[in-house]
């Protein structure tokens, strides 16, 4: 299982960097499309959740294969 804390910190950093770029777009678009702090956190949690679900699926499959072999 991956280091969750490290990955979560990395995901938040990625989301924040993206958000800075989205903020810069305001002058171009004429309105602000950046995310709030809550959204940044929620986006990071969603991605981590999806990654965790995949990891768990893999581990269950691997355990089942070991069991049946």
């Amino acid at each position: 299982m991956r280091n969750l804390h490290q990955r979560f910190t990395e995901l938040i950093r990625i989301q924040e960097e993206r958000n800075l770029i989205l903020k810069e777009l305001e002058s171009e678009l004429g309105f602000d499309i950046s995310f709030s702090e809550d959204d940044i956190m929620s986006n990071a949690i969603d991605i981590l959740g999806a990654e965790l679900a995949k990891d768990i699926d893999k581990e269950i499959l691997s355990a089942l294969l070991k069991e049946t072999s």
Partner: protein
């Protein structure tokens, strides 16, 4: 062509024809058959003086979330690539919209157009040289799937949004 550009091109090239199809079959109303601005954050060049039209206050932002490569055979000859993307559809609610639910309906229409494109390109999605929906193949993948949708509204900024997760697979050989 990188994968984010591929997704943006697939949506852009198919958007107008899909909007027409969905308008004709009654899934969306004609006033919502608009083309949003597609944003790939990596390719933004700030202060280039570009401005969107006053009328086109919808954006679709495309992010790549993950890219995994697996070699499932003993000789590592087969390459399976999986990519996941997030598509943020964001619609600005304007006070001058004719009805209070106009922006909500606009968001729903944009979602339906995006979903239609993804569903109708689920097997071997392809983009063609010069845009459009036929001709010489420029880039393709094997499988494309819309995996989830969640609401992402921002009341303070008067933005309505959907967050879509999309998965794409590419299969290749290293020979």
């Amino acid at each position: 062509m990188d994968e984010v550009t591929f997704i943006v091109r697939l949506l852009t090239d198919n958007w107008a024809s899909t909007a027409t199809t969905l308008t004709n079959n009654g899934s969306i109303i004609a006033s919502h058959a608009v083309t949003p601005k597609f944003i790939d954050v990596r390719s933004i060049e700030p202060k280039t003086g570009r401005r969107v039209d006053v009328d086109s206050q919808e954006v679709i932002i495309v992010f790549e979330e993950s890219a995994n490569t697996e070699y499932p055979t003993i000789d590592y000859a087969v390459r399976n690539e999986s990519f996941t993307f997030t598509l943020h559809i964001r619609v600005l609610h304007r006070r001058d919209f004719p009805t209070i639910t106009y922006s909500r309906d606009r968001l729903q229409a944009l979602y339906r157009i995006a979903r239609y494109i993804l569903e109708h390109n689920s097997l071997r999605p392809t983009v063609y040289v010069g845009g459009g929906t036929s001709g010489t193949i420029e880039e393709s993948a094997e499988l494309l799937k819309l995996t989830s949708r969640s609401e992402a509204n921002d009341r303070g900024k008067r933005l309505l949004g959907y967050k879509l997760s999309v998965e794409m697979k590419r299969i290749g050989r290293n020979t």
